[in-house]
Amino acid sequence: VRALVLALLVVAGCANQRHTALTASLVTVNTARDTFVEWDRAHQLALVHEATSREQIVARLDEYRKKREGVVRAFAFVYAKLAKAFADDTEDATKGALAVAKNLVDTIQAMKPGAADPPLEQLPCVTNREAGTPCDL
């Protein structure tokens, strides 16, 4: 009976640890989201500042916003992985979610003010995928 109680406590402890890790990860992803929003605003305004004609800036903003869809898709993928991990509450789902979340957060944090467009190739769920194609969860 003691062994069973101990096992239950271990399982409960692990489950709580998973939940804590996922919650902490969600905080970092939301902070990365807010950081990216701030970067995006400064980036677009800097593009406007540098522009020499209306036609040029309209085309440049259009090009940038199409690229930015890749970042939004990466966030959507990470949020979906986190939601699935919260729901599944398994070791594998948690590890997978934490890994893609870390990838996204590291990439966003590395973006400096005044940098070029986002490094899409480093984001999860972007490389070698057509726009609109859902990633595997």
């Binding site: 709580n16 939940h19 804590t20 996922l22 919650t23 902490a24 969600l26 905080v27 970092t28 992803v29 939301n30 902070t31 989201r33 807010d34 950081t35 990216f36 929003v37 701030e38 995006d40 605003r41 677009q44 305004l45 593009l47 406007v48 522009a51 004609s53 209306r54 800036i57 309209v58 903003l61 916003r65 930015r68 939004v72 966030f75 959507a76 949020y79 979906a80 986190l82 939601a83 919260f86 729901a87 944090q109």
Partner: protein, 91 residues
């Protein structure tokens, strides 16, 4: 709520807050001299922590986190478009 539940909740809060403080530290290190931005970002982190520790995370609540990204980017687009109109007025 039992003592054990309080202790568990406290530990969970401490870990989440520690994570947030680590992020703040990273921001201070990488963005010196940006006081107003820093204060704004710390405020957002605090909000994120509060939201994360209040209530259960569901598919719907995580979806709301994504919708906030889309809404904020749309606001940025509007601000940039307005700046274009200011700089290059339409005929």
């Amino acid at each position: 709520m039992s003592l054990w539940s309080n202790v568990k909740k406290g530990l969970e809060l401490a870990q989440v807050c520690a994570s947030a403080i680590e992020i703040i530290h990273q921001i201070i290190k990488t963005r010196p001299g940006k006081d107003s931005d820093l204060v704004s970002m710390i405020g957002k982190i605090v909000t994120n922590v509060r939201e994360a520790i209040s209530g259960e995370r569901t598919v719907a609540s995580v979806q709301a986190d994504l919708e906030k990204l889309k809404t904020d980017l749309a606001k940025n687009d509007a601000a940039a478009d307005a700046a274009v109109d200011d700089k290059f007025p339409k005929d």
